[in-house]
């Protein structure tokens, strides 16, 4: 199963959701934000090398971190050199070996979002409860639908006390899981770790478990 984590808007926490969801689903997390990669980097071949035909996608997967990760290069030259269309076959190759793949998509609505959505079996929309983020989420949902990636769940990220989950569920037509704003999530993310490894009994850790469960049921029943 390939699961695309998208949202349109930048800065809503797609990378955080990708890393934590990847940990819960025991998946390989692919950092596909080609020009603004956010997940931990590593020595050796990365996604830029894969898309430029210099490295094998499966060999670029790192298994030594807290979450299996296909890292992305950081240079603009690398982002420019790669063929984004090759991302589809790279994701398929990783899926064929590791079975479950979580793709951290970039912001925006260009092909670097479209190709993972095309390759994906399902998508998770990440949004915040701000109006402008919601508009982007709706647009991304339309694109996912057109590219045949069913909406498995919506992660309403960094919520306050009373998240508008019901409103959002009606607007987007999918199960909504709210993840509360929590410093421990950010701290764990900076270390490239899921929050469950730092604070397993915390509320956000429990919410990511719930999100993973929603994704599992959402993708099985479709």
């Amino acid at each position: 199963m390939i699961l695309a984590i998208a949202g349109g808007k930048g800065g809503v926490g797609k990378s955080t959701v990708s890393l934590n969801l990847g940990a819960e689903l025991d998946a390989v997390v692919v950092d596909a934000d080609l020009s603004m990669a956010d997940l931990p980097t590593a020595r050796g071949p990365d996604l830029h090398d894969v898309l430029a035909g210099r490295a094998d996608p499966v060999e670029a997967v790192r298994e030594d971190g807290p979450v299996d990760l296909l890292p992305c290069g950081r240079t603009l030259a690398g982002a420019r050199a790669g063929e984004v269309a090759a991302l589809a076959s790279a994701l398929d190759a990783v899926e064929s070996i590791y079975d479950r793949v979580v793709v951290d998509c970039p912001a925006g609505m260009a092909a670097d979002v479209g190709v993972p959505l095309l390759a994906a079996d399902a998508a998770v929309l990440v949004t915040s409860s701000r109006e402008f983020a919601l508009a982007d989420a709706v647009r991304t949902r339309a694109l996912a639908r057109e590219l045949d990636a069913g909406l498995a769940a919506v992660a309403l990220n960094r919520t306050g006390r009373e998240p508008p989950t019901e409103t959002l569920r009606r607007a987007l037509g999918a199960r909504v899981v709210a993840v509360p704003d929590d410093g421990r999530v950010r701290r764990a993310q900076r270390q490239g770790r899921p929050v469950a490894s730092l604070a397993p009994d915390s509320r956000p850790a429990a919410r990511f478990v719930a999100l993973a469960e929603t994704v599992r049921t959402g993708t099985l029943t479709r």
Binding site: L34, S35, L76, A77, A79, R80, G82, E83, V84, A85, A86, L87, A88, S89, P106, G108, M109, A110, A111, D112, V113, G114, V115, L118, A119, E146, L147
Partner: protein, 184 residues
């Protein structure tokens, strides 16, 4: 059947092929146009990927009833005549759009439709040669250059002093190259 009108010209070692496919019939036809030049097909590109319908051997697409399609490609081969030929045609299905095939069903289709988000070439830093001019000198001159106002009298004098010294130093012949201590 369909008619193929062609023109080929060579420019800078590259053959440029212009084709018009005309379908005079009353039904839309799917057409395969194959390259006859002795070299690779360089197809038109959209967002960095071959335009819809193009592959290594040529073009395949639908020409509407009574319609024309203009095609063009390049090849590194020498021009021969005719440069391309229609290898087969068949009646097109009703659902096939006349001018856009396989809109998004493939990764290339997605890139074509949505546009590649690669950073522009200007944004990519070039590998830099070590600059022969010291940074301090460069930034001083650069600051004067970028400013919209003219240099003050003091600055003009400084520039002239630098120009004189730079000229004098550059004129020295190799055999009287100063020891490091002399250069200041």
């Amino acid at each position: 059947m369909v008619d193929l009108d062609w023109r080929v010209e060579a420019q800078a070692g590259v053959s440029l092929v212009e084709l018009t496919v005309h379908n005079p019939g009353r039904t839309a036809r799917r057409v395969r146009v194959a390259n006859r030049l002795d070299g690779a097909v360089w197809p038109p590109r959209r967002e960095g990927v071959a335009a819809a319908g193009w592959d290594d051997g040529g073009f395949e697409g639908v020409v509407a009833a009574g319609g024309r399609r203009a095609l063009g490609y390049a090849s590194p081969a020498a021009p021969t005549e005719p440069p391309a030929e229609v290898v087969w045609t068949e009646r097109a299905g009703v659902a096939e759009p006349a001018d856009r095939s396989a809109l998004r069903a493939t990764p290339d289709g997605v890139v074509r439709t949505l546009g590649a988000a690669r950073p522009p070439a200007d944004a990519v830093p070039r590998p830099t040669e070590p600059d022969p001019v010291p940074d301090a000198v460069e930034s001083w001159l650069g600051a004067l250059d970028d400013r919209s106002t003219a240099p003050t009298a003091a600055e003009r004098e400084a520039l002239e002093v630098v120009a004189r010294r730079a000229g004098a130093l550059a004129d020295r012949s190799a055999d009287e190259r100063p020891s490091p201590g002399d250069s200041r």
